[in-house]
């Protein structure tokens, strides 16, 4: 355990939430992707968070959603197959926006921890200074 551990741990939380925001950004950006039925659809990214041994959190990896997507009929689409079907990304925008709020609030919470920890350490430095 080091001198400024609270700050370091909150920093690891900030990194994980930043990566979660990145993944959500990717999912939302690709929500309207259309591919031919012969190809796989866009696969959603899910960030897997995991606790670290000495305290803190880290991204254990990224799990991808299924490539089935939604097969919809759109004969006017140049990617459509002989029967007029294309494959759309199956991204639930409502869920992504909800997660976006969670990720943002989580990031802000960790940033608040950094600030509070810094204020606390500065209060400790003021001990005995009123002479």
């Amino acid at each position: 355990m080091g001198l400024f551990d609270a700050i370091g741990i909150a920093g690891s939380g900030l990194t994980v939430h930043r990566k979660w925001l990145d993944a959500l950004s990717d999912n939302i950006a690709n929500a309207d992707d259309v591919t031919a039925t012969s190809d796989g659809a866009f696969r959603e990214r899910y960030v897997v968070a995991q606790e670290m041994a000495g305290g803190g959190v880290q991204v254990a990896g990224v799990v991808l959603g299924d490539a089935d997507g939604r097969v919809v009929q759109d004969p006017s689409n140049p990617l459509a197959d002989a029967d007029g079907y294309v494959r759309q990304a199956d991204v639930d925008l409502t869920s992504q926006m909800t997660q976006l709020i969670l990720a943002q609030r989580g990031y802000q919470a960790n940033a608040a921890v950094v600030d509070r920890a810094k204020e606390s350490y500065q209060a400790a430095l003021q001990i005995g200074r009123t002479s």
Binding site: L3, F4, I7, G11, A111, V114, K118, Q122, L125
Partner: protein
């Protein structure tokens, strides 16, 4: 009337160390205590170097996490405040000793 013989003086018990005062360990004569202070100054310098490196990354666009820089800056500023506080206390103690009169 008989005079009572003088009894032998009991041995004076040696004065015990003042209870309550924590034993002050004398710094090793090889100056290792001072060297350890220099060591912590080195780690402070390292912290500053990390912050500087991240600041360069920030302006060159190589910084991955904004908070990495702000956290490093907060940590090094706290560390320098702590070092200054310790130094001021040490100088204060030294001046106090120098003011002592016989």
């Amino acid at each position: 009337m008989s005079i009572a013989p003088v009894t032998a003086v009991t041995a004076v018990t040696p004065v015990q160390g003042l209870a309550g005062t924590g034993a002050v360990t004398a710094p090793a004569s090889d100056g290792s205590a001072f060297a350890s202070v220099l060591g912590s100054v080195d780690s402070l310098q390292q912290m500053q170097a990390t912050t500087d490196g991240l600041a360069v990354q920030a302006v060159t666009g190589d910084l991955d996490d904004v908070h990495d820089y702000t956290i490093a800056a907060a940590q090094s500023s706290l560390a320098i405040e702590l070092t200054a506080a310790v130094r001021n206390k040490a100088v204060e103690a030294f001046s106090e000793i120098m003011r002592m009169q016989a």
